[in-house]
Point group: C2
Chain length 226, copies 2
């Protein structure tokens, strides 16, 4: 699960972007942390210009907040922005699964099934990080199945906003089981060409984050804007 795009040609700006993107989404850089173009440029050994461009891109993803003549900070969580990101992510992925249910690329079926089996193993082994990896791939495979691979870029962009928040939540085995079962039901609906059912299952699946987010809002209120 590497940064968005994983560009082929690597400019200085790309290097800075990838590094910071990772640090922010993995929460190694906490929300509210001040971060200056000059400092980052020094640590990378680049000039300010490529760093600036990377900042600009990260700001577009709502991961940085550039305040002219003041400072740039790792963007604090915002319930509003999180809601927006979840809305878009859900909208796109719902259309993906509906589309896949109606006309999917069957050559992806095997990969989906294999992924699901591995999920079961990860759940048994209580291997949370492996489960997260598989979850990431699973949703990516859904896009492939719908023949809309590009859609995962949109999903990933919006996931990033939520993922870094969920780094603060522990994933219990029970939670993993629930998510796994959702995935299972989703595949059943997909393979059964049942768009309505796939829609409903995915809605429930994506809504499961709500209580987690609410909980983090109270336990880590200092990281929030609103």
């Amino acid at each position: 699960m590497v940064a968005l795009g994983s560009l082929e040609r690597s400019t200085s700006s790309d290097i800075v972007f990838d590094k910071l993107f990772g640090q922010i989404t993995r929460l190694e850089l906490l929300p509210g942390t001040k971060i200056s173009e000059t400092d980052v440029a020094k640590t990378f050994g680049f000039s300010r210009q490529p760093v600036r461009e990377a900042f600009s891109r990260l700001a577009n993803l709502n991961l940085l907040l550039v305040r002219p003549q003041r400072a740039t900070v790792v963007r604090p969580f915002s319930r509003k922005l999180i809601a927006h990101a979840r809305f878009v992510r859900a909208a796109v992925e719902l259309e993906v699964v509906r589309s896949a249910a109606l006309d999917r690329d069957r050559s992806v079926d095997a990969a989906l099934k294999a992924n699901l089996r591995e999920q079961a193993q990860a759940v048994s082994a209580e291997d949370v990080s492996r489960f997260h990896e598989l979850d990431y791939d699973f949703h990516k495979l859904l896009c492939a199945s719908a023949k809309q691979e590009f859609a995962f870029e949109i999903i990933a962009e919006n996931k990033a906003q939520v993922d870094r928040l969920c780094m603060l939540a522990l994933t219990s085995k029970e939670a993993m089981v629930v998510l796994y079962e959702d995935h299972q039901k989703l595949l059943e609906a997909l393979f059964g060409s049942d768009a309505a059912s796939a829609d409903e299952v995915l809605r429930v699946h994506l809504d499961r984050l709500t209580p987690t987010i609410d909980a983090i809002y109270t336990t880590h209120n200092a990281y929030f804007d609103d």
Copy 2:
């Protein structure tokens, strides 16, 4: 219908962005047109840096294509990119209208009705540009009705890609009538809290562009990449 965002604080970069965005989407700059940072900087009287930033933002919207060490061109149309943009736009707006059908902000009802009435007048008067304005506002009001104003930003981003292409198509009175009737049906579904019907009407509505786009692909093939 001003450029995306209509930022409050106007930097040099913003000025360049807004200007170029308008020229590209209005097709005053044709797909494939070469455009260099230096030239643009000269005409605006700015340095290359703010222009460069504007280019970067336009490239993110797939309106420019920056080819390092070669040149930057107004991005040619691409059926693939157009399909992607339409997919995302449809996904988001479908979720918007479903959401509005289930729980809308009734204080927007009046504006929607008023807009629809004005559309009828524009159709009668065969005032195409006025109709396009109203159409833009109508879809924006839909987002407001769903209490998801932000969603229109996503829609507008993806519309831009398609809109500039549709500048090449004439809108006949008959076509306007059809679009108007779609809008009418959509509002009926919305006010009747009929999400399924709203979904279906919007799907048909957004699909009406397909033959237009196909036609332009043949008549203006030189502007296309693929």
